[in-house]
Structures are given as structure tokens and as C-alpha cells.
């Protein structure tokens, strides 16, 4: 019968197609073979680079809603006084040079003379004054990142190309902090705006910008298209356009990187790294970050106040195994807050400290008075060593906490996991400080000044999450923060690292690396993480 033969043919066709798709998906798709990148190549002009973001950006670096995805767009659109150098030290951007006053209570910056806004107006000291005095330093606005400039009293224009930051105390890290999401905004564009955060024509439309690319069109939920700014003071970019495309799903981002719809992306979930590495149309590059994962043991809990207990935790947790499991090896165990990327300051002598040793952990716990108890859980004064680890559902935190739980169990400590939605987690742990122990991370500006995260004054409501207090640590932090002589500062940072490694205010876990997936045709991309790379898009070019 006709129907039966059709059916048979149809089934055969379907089976063949399915097999073909399965095979095709399994193999690397055909694509132009990438030639190795050579530095002697001449940059070519033209082309469009597409970068994914997870949601709509707010195009104002100081806006309370400008975080995560907005950072990429804002770093391209708005130049700042300094930018992260390729060696992490602050490099010139709108400011050509800078100098601290003798008493350390002021910094003076000399600006570019011929920088212009995208509407043709000149960029002057007045714009810097406006950005800081009228936006950042106005407490009632709640600008994002304002906390980084707590030491700035006011900003004044000495002349159109010279600007002076007046400080309440010495602040060596100011040039580095000015490179960290600190774009300068145009004063003339904000004239007459009663509420700068409600200025949607700017923040969510077509802002007046200073960077190598300016906004051509913004389509909510879909993309921001930037076109080349031919008048950019740093030199005309090679690319025609830079597109930030909204791609919320991480797997779709990987698929689009492989299909060529995206030019560069960050691979947060490193599980698929090996698969992507084998694709010829992209290259996979690890990057240094200014980031470290930590375990905070709340210092209001007397059990955690004993340094031997904290050291025992460090010995008991097999950090290298966690790095291998959750970061696929892209990371290094940490023993202080100073990242290896700070080549001038990082002290490698602590790297071998707290290498995984269950015996040392048990010994220290025993020294601290913990004895074997029922069910293999240690006890003291009749109470078992049991507490809850609050886990935020983001990134690698859940698998990390599971591994830590297992490690601690082997040492006789019972850690129960309480997994929470991220927003609720922040409310409980960070806002209310209602926690015993938690794992998280810090990302911070490219400078070893970590005062805000460790000083005793930052306990309770500040960034000193464990609430650790020690006058010796406070003294070291102050020295790092205020010392202007480079040799003396290096010494202070060295001492700081020794203190941190020996006393463990946070249990330092590891320094992660970022994995960038870059299209084989995209050249001129410096070897720095993608956020910092946004300051260098002028140098990017596409091989045809």
C-alpha cells in the first residue's frame, strides 16, 4: 500500500538525518583553519566584533544599576583618568601624568589637551570635577563604587587640563582606583538634570561618550551597537563596529562563539573547556584576575577565634583538588589577599603553606582542645564541632562547598550546607551578617590596598565579612594604604602577606583564572582579562 512505502522511506530519511546531525554535532564543524598569530602582522581595518552580555546595560558607570554587564559597555564608552596597564599598574588614559603632594593629602593629574566628547565638546577638568563632586561624592545619590573614594574630600579644577583630588588621608592607590569602573561623565550633558539616575536618554539611550566607540543604536533586550569614533584622542580604532549582544544563557554563548556569531566571550563554566579547545575556529586563553576565593569563619563564634582552628581548616581543605575539580585546574591555591598578578608585590614564599595535610589539621585541632567524640565528630566541653555553611547559588560555589564539607568531615568537623538563592543569600550573610561560615570571593581594583576588606573598622557593616580584628593587621593595612615611597610600600605589602598567611583572617582558598574564548580572526588583543581589555579595544583588529 502507498502509505506503508512512504512510511518506510520517511523513517529511513529521518534516521539518516538524525545520525548525520549526531555525527555533525560530535565532530568539529568545518571552518577556515586559523593561522598562528604573529606579532609582525599589519593590522587591517574594518569588521565588527560581537561581545555577549547577560542583560541590558545601564550606560553610566556610577549608576546604582550599573554592575556586571554594564561594566563592559561603560569601560568602552567612558574613558577614565587612568586605565589598567598591561602589567596591572595604572596607565595613562585621560590623564597623562600624576603626582602626589608631599604630605600625601592631594593628588594632581595633568589631562590630555585635545580629548573630545562624541558631540565635539572638549573634555576638560570641569568634567572630572562634575563627575566626582556632583555624582560620586554626593552621599544621597548612592553612586556605585563611591565607597572606593571614601578618602576623597573634593575635586578641584586647577586649570582646564589640571585637576586636583583633595584627600582626608593619604591614599596611594588613588591612581589605580581611578582605573576601576571610574569613567568620567560629560558635565554639559547632565546640565539641568534633577536626578542623574533618571536621565534615561543618556543611561538607556544614546549617551555622549568619550571612548573609541560611541553608541549607534540601543535595542532593549537585544543589543547595543557601537560605531567607531574617528575623532578618538587615542587614535582611530581599526574595527568598524563593536556590538554588545544580549545572550542570557551561558550554553548559547558557547554555541555562538563556535558558530562565529560571537567574537570573544568569558567561559564561566570551565567544564566544556577541553571540548572548545579542540575547535579550530577559536582560541582559548587563560587570563590573570584580581580575584580570590575565600572561606569566612564568623569571628563572633568563639570556636573560630582560635588561630589553630583556622589553620587546621586550611590544612584540612584540599584546595588543589577543588581547583582541579571545579576550575579544571585554572587556578592556584591562595594564602593571602595579594594576587600573583601584582608582580611587583606578590610574595611567592607562602605558596607552600597549608599544603593539604589531614594529619596536621587533626594535630592542630587537638592542640586547640578538640577531642574525638561520637560519630567521628570532634567535641569540646560536651559540644560537637558542628556548624552551617551558607552557600550562595552562583558559579562554582555549590560544588566547592560540597568538597569542603567532605574534607572537613574527614577531619572530624560536621559542616551542614544551606544552599540559598543569591539575592536572599546576600541579605542573610552580607547585610544581616547572620551566618557561621560561608565561601565567596573578592574582586578588587588593581592595587594591593585591601584596607576596606580587613580593617577592624570594616567589621560589622563593612567588607570585613568575618569581623576579624587585630591592631597589628590594622597597622599593616594603614602602612600599605598611605605609604608613597615604593620600596617602603613593597615592604609593607610583604609584611601584610606574612601576617595574612600566618593568622588567616579569612581562610584563603584560591586565585582563579579567567578563560577567554576568542575567535581565531580577532587579533591585537592584549593578554589581560576581558574587563581590563575593554580599555584596549582601539587596538583590536580582525583578520579577513
Amino acid at each position: 500500500m502507498q502509505w506503508h512505502s512512504w512510511r518506510r522511506r520517511g523513517a529511513a530519511l529521518a534516521a539518516t538525518w538524525l545520525l548525520g546531525v549526531w555525527a555533525g554535532v560530535g565532530c568539529a564543524p568545518a571552518a577556515p583553519v586559523a593561522t598562528p598569530q604573529s606579532n609582525s602582522q599589519q593590522p587591517q581595518t574594518g569588521g565588527t566584533v560581537t561581545i555577549p552580555i547577560a542583560a541590558d546595560p545601564t550606560m553610566n558607570p556610577w549608576h546604582p544599576n550599573a554592575f556586571v554587564e554594564s561594566i563592559f559597555v561603560n569601560r568602552v564608552l567612558f574613558d577614565s583618568l587612568t586605565r589598567p596597564g598591561k602589567d596591572l599598574n595604572p596607565a595613562p588614559d585621560l590623564a597623562l601624568s600624576w603626582e602626589a603632594a608631599a604630605d600625601g593629602l592631594a593628588w594632581t593629574f595633568k589631562l590630555q589637551a585635545d580629548a573630545k566628547w562624541s558631540d565635539g565638546q572638549a573634555i576638560t577638568a570641569d568634567d572630572v570635577v562634575f563627575t566626582f563632586n556632583d555624582l560620586v561624592l554626593k552621599k544621597e545619590l548612592g553612586a556605585t563604587g563611591a565607597g572606593n573614594f571614601a578618602a576623597v574630600k573634593s575635586v578641584e579644577a586647577v586649570d582646564p587640563t589640571t585637576v586636583k583630588f583633595n584627600l582626608t588621608r593619604p591614599f596611594s592607590a588613588l591612581p589605580a582606583y581611578l582605573a576601576y569602573n571610574a569613567g568620567i561623565l560629560p558635565r554639559h550633558a547632565f546640565q539641568g538634570q534633577a536626578d542623574p539616575w533618571a536621565f534615561n536618554a543618556f543611561n538607556k539611550g544614546t549617551p555622549v561618550s568619550s571612548g573609541p566607540f560611541k553608541v549607534e543604536s540601543y535595542t532593549s533586550g537585544q543589543s547595543v551597537v557601537l560605531a567607531r569614533n574617528d575623532a578618538y584622542f587615542g587614535g582611530k580604532p581599526y574595527l568598524d563596529k563593536l556590538v554588545f549582544k544580549v545572550v542570557p544563557d551561558a550554553n548559547t554563548q558557547i554555541a555562538q562563539a563556535l558558530s562565529g556569531e560571537l567574537s570573544v566571550m568569558i567561559m564561566d563554566n570551565k567544564a566544556a573547556v577541553d571540548r572548545v579547545k579542540s575547535a579550530p575556529q577559536v582560541r582559548v586563553e587563560p587570563r590573570q584576575l584580581v580575584q580570590y576565593y575565600w572561606l569566612a569563619l564568623n569571628q563572633t563564634d568563639p570556636r573560630f577565634q582560635d588561630v589553630r582552628v583556622r589553620q587546621a581548616f586550611d590544612y584540612a581543605i584540599d584546595r588543589q583538588a577543588i581547583i582541579t575539580a571545579v576550575e579544571k585546574g585554572y587556578g592556584k591555591p591562595a594564602n593571602s589577599a595579594i594576587v600573583p598578578g601584582f608582580t611587583a608585590y606578590y610574595d611567592p614564599s607562602h605558596e607552600a603553606q597549608y599544603a593539604f595535610s589531614l594529619d596536621k589539621a587533626k594535630q592542630l585541632l587537638s592542640d586547640a582542645g578538640w577531642q574525638a567524640g561520637p560519630d567521628g565528630i570532634l567535641q569540646k566541653d560536651g559540644k560537637p564541632f558542628q556548624f552551617t555553611l551558607d552557600v550562595g547559588q552562583r558559579g562554582v560555589l555549590e560544588p566547592t562547598n560540597e568538597l569542603i564539607q567532605q574534607n572537613l568531615k574527614a577531619a572530624g568537623i560536621q559542616a551542614d550546607l544551606n544552599s540559598m538563592e543569591w539575592n536572599a543569600y546576600i541579605q542573610k550573610v552580607v547585610v544581616a551578617r547572620d551566618y557561621s561560615a560561608t565561601v565567596n570571593w573578592w574582586v578588587y581594583p588593581n592595587d594591593p590596598d585591601v584596607y576596606a576588606y580587613y580593617h577592624s573598622s570594616a567589621a560589622g557593616k563593612g567588607f570585613n565579612i568575618p569581623g576579624y580584628k587585630d591592631p597589628k593587621l590594622d597597622d599593616l593595612l594603614t602602612r600599605v594604604q598611605t605609604e608613597t615611597d615604593l620600596t617602603k610600600r613593597k615592604q609593607a605589602v610583604t609584611d601584610l602577606q606574612t601576617f595574612m598567611a600566618d593568622n588567616l583572617p579569612y581562610i584563603f582558598l584560591w586565585y582563579p583564572q579567567e578563560i577567554d574564548v576568542i575567535n581565531a580572526n580577532l587579533q591585537g588583543v592584549p593578554d589581560i582579562n576581558l574587563r581590563d581589555n575593554m580599555h584596549y579595544v582601539r587596538e583590536w583588529w580582525l583578520k579577513k
Binding site: 556605585t144 565607597g147 538607556k204 544580549v246 545572550v247 539575592n423 574582586v443 563593612g462
Partner: protein, 301 residues
């Protein structure tokens, strides 16, 4: 009814732990949180905030989104047509494909076509949309490079009809798999019920061809319960669109709702809930009207 929905949603959302995402970040200081709490009006008690919202809503002002500073009504207005397009296309595809499949299954009851279709139904209901979406993207976008994998149209352009259809194909196909099985199964059982009725046997006995009997008489009556199930599929489509829109970067209401929920954007969450409730009510109304057209016995005298 909408008033009740808005009140309950407002209460539930404000009771949820956490707060607007601008405040709930690791790098926000306590002073900033205090300032922002006051700016967003969150230091006032919930009933006061609800009264303020209601006063605005009755004038058509659904408030300002906390995560983007844009008017809530405007944000919803931007996204709703996209979701209606996606869900509408998925529904159309499900009906156009599902009804004939259901008819075939009913007519060839307990034979191979019936079993194959039953199998497809089970698979269709069980396959998670995000998995199917990614597989299709890998196959059709990455490997074969036939279709684009996200967005409404090619980035930066409004897109001509062909471009927009290309972008619509995969997400609509994936979304339709969440409802197609129901249409098939329900059409099949509805038609089977009807085929055993006396009037069908009478029509056959009269000498009418099989085709005329099925499509002219039986199907028209079978469609009445099918129309009712299509009405219940509308909320299911809205729910399914959340995942599909996330995977395909489709700028619709589903994605907006998830972002609003994660970011505790209270006015936006309440606004979306009220609008979706209104759409569901409207679709129920349309279904009721379709009944009266299909079955004259239901028309009120």
C-alpha cells in the same frame, strides 16, 4: 480579579527575602544600601507602598522599574509583543500540526501511526525545552550554519521578513513541543468519542464519503473540547516561554519576568503578573466565544 492578583503578588513579592539587586551585591557599602533603600521608597511599610502603587496603576502608571529606571508599562510594552509573537506562532504550529496528527491517530487507532504518535507525544512532553533548544542550536546554527541562534533579527538591524522568520523558527519549534503533545492527545480522544456517536453512523449510512463524515461532521463537534484545552494551553505557553526565551535570547516577557524576580524589581514583577493575568482572562474570553461559534447549542438564547 486583577485587583486581587495585584494585591496578593505585591504582598508575596515584598515578603520574599532579599531586595533589589542594586542593593544586594557584595560590593555595596552599608551607607549606599541605606541611601538606595530610601530612594526606592522601601523604608515605608508594605500597605503604604501598595496604596501608592494602586493609586498610580488606576491612572495607568504602573510605576518605575527598579532595575532599569524605565517606566514599568513601557518595559512590558516593549517585550509583550515579542512573547505574543512567539507564543502565538507556537500555538498556531501546535494546532495546525497537532489536529491532523490527532485525527490520524484516532482514525488509525491502535495501529502503527497511532503508536508512533503516542510515542512522539510522550517524548515531546518529557524533553526539557532548554535541552532541546541547545541541541537544535548546536545542530542548526553551529554545525550546519542554517539558522541564527538568538535574537529577534540580525543584530543592529530591524530585519526584513525573511530574517525575522529565520530567527523565529527555532524558538517557536521548541516552544510548540511543550504543547503539541496535548493537542494531539486531546484531539484524538475527542474525535474517538464523537466517532462512536449515532449521528456519525447515520452519516456513514447515508452514503457520505469517509472524508466528509470525519471532516464535515465529526471533527466540528470534536473541536469543542479541543478549543477548551487550547484555552488552558495559553498560560502553559507563557510559562514555557521563560525557558525558551532564555535559551534563544528572545527579548520577551518570560525573560523579563525571570530577571525581575531575580532582581527583586517589585513594581515590574507586579506589573508583569497583572498583565499576564489580563492576557489569560482575555484568552479565556476568546475561547468562550469560539465555543458559541462552533456549537450552536451553547449559544445563549
Amino acid at each position: 480579579m486583577l485587583l486581587l492578583v495585584s494585591a496578593i503578588t505585591f504582598l508575596l513579592v515584598n515578603l520574599a527575602p532579599g531586595g533589589p539587586s542594586a542593593l544586594m551585591r557584595m560590593d555595596v557599602t552599608a551607607e549606599q544600601r541605606d541611601v538606595l533603600t530610601r530612594r526606592l521608597g522601601l523604608d515605608q511599610p508594605v500597605p503604604v507602598r501598595y496604596a501608592q502603587w494602586l493609586a498610580g496603576a488606576l491612572r495607568g502608571d504602573l510605576g518605575t522599574s527598579m532595575t532599569s529606571n524605565e517606566p514599568v508599562a513601557w518595559r512590558i510594552g516593549q517585550r509583550l509583543p515579542n512573547t505574543l509573537l512567539l507564543a502565538g506562532t507556537a500555538l498556531l504550529v501546535s494546532i495546525l500540526a497537532g489536529v491532523p496528527m490527532g485525527v490520524l491517530a484516532a482514525l488509525r487507532r491502535n495501529s502503527l501511526p497511532d503508536f508512533v504518535l503516542a510515542g512522539i507525544s510522550v517524548v515531546g512532553v518529557s524533553i526539557p525545552a532548554f535541552w532541546l533548544g541547545i541541541i537544535l542550536i548546536l545542530a542548526l546554527s553551529v554545525t550546519l550554519q542554517w539558522l541564527p541562534s538568538s535574537g529577534l533579527a540580525t543584530t543592529g538591524s530591524a530585519g526584513d521578513l525573511g530574517d525575522r522568520v529565520q530567527h523565529l523558527l527555532m524558538p517557536a519549534a521548541v516552544l510548540s513541543t511543550t504543547v503539541l503533545p496535548y493537542v494531539v492527545r486531546f484531539t484524538r480522544s475527542a474525535l474517538l468519542e464523537v466517532l462512536h456517536q449515532d449521528y456519525v453512523r447515520t452519516a456513514s449510512a447515508k452514503g457520505l464519503s469517509r472524508l466528509r463524515v470525519v471532516y464535515g461532521h465529526a471533527l466540528r463537534n470534536a473541536l469543542v473540547p479541543v478549543v477548551s484545552i487550547v484555552g488552558t494551553l495559553v498560560p502553559r505557553l507563557f510559562g514555557g516561554s521563560v525557558v525558551t526565551e532564555a535559551v534563544f535570547g528572545w527579548p520577551g516577557m518570560g525573560r523579563l519576568a525571570v530577571e525581575a524576580a531575580n532582581g527583586r524589581d517589585y513594581p515590574l514583577i507586579v506589573g508583569i503578573t497583572v498583565v499576564v493575568a489580563a492576557v489569560v482572562v482575555f484568552s479565556s474570553l476568546v475561547v468562550d466565544l469560539a465555543y458559541t461559534w462552533l456549537d450552536p447549542r451553547i449559544r445563549l438564547s
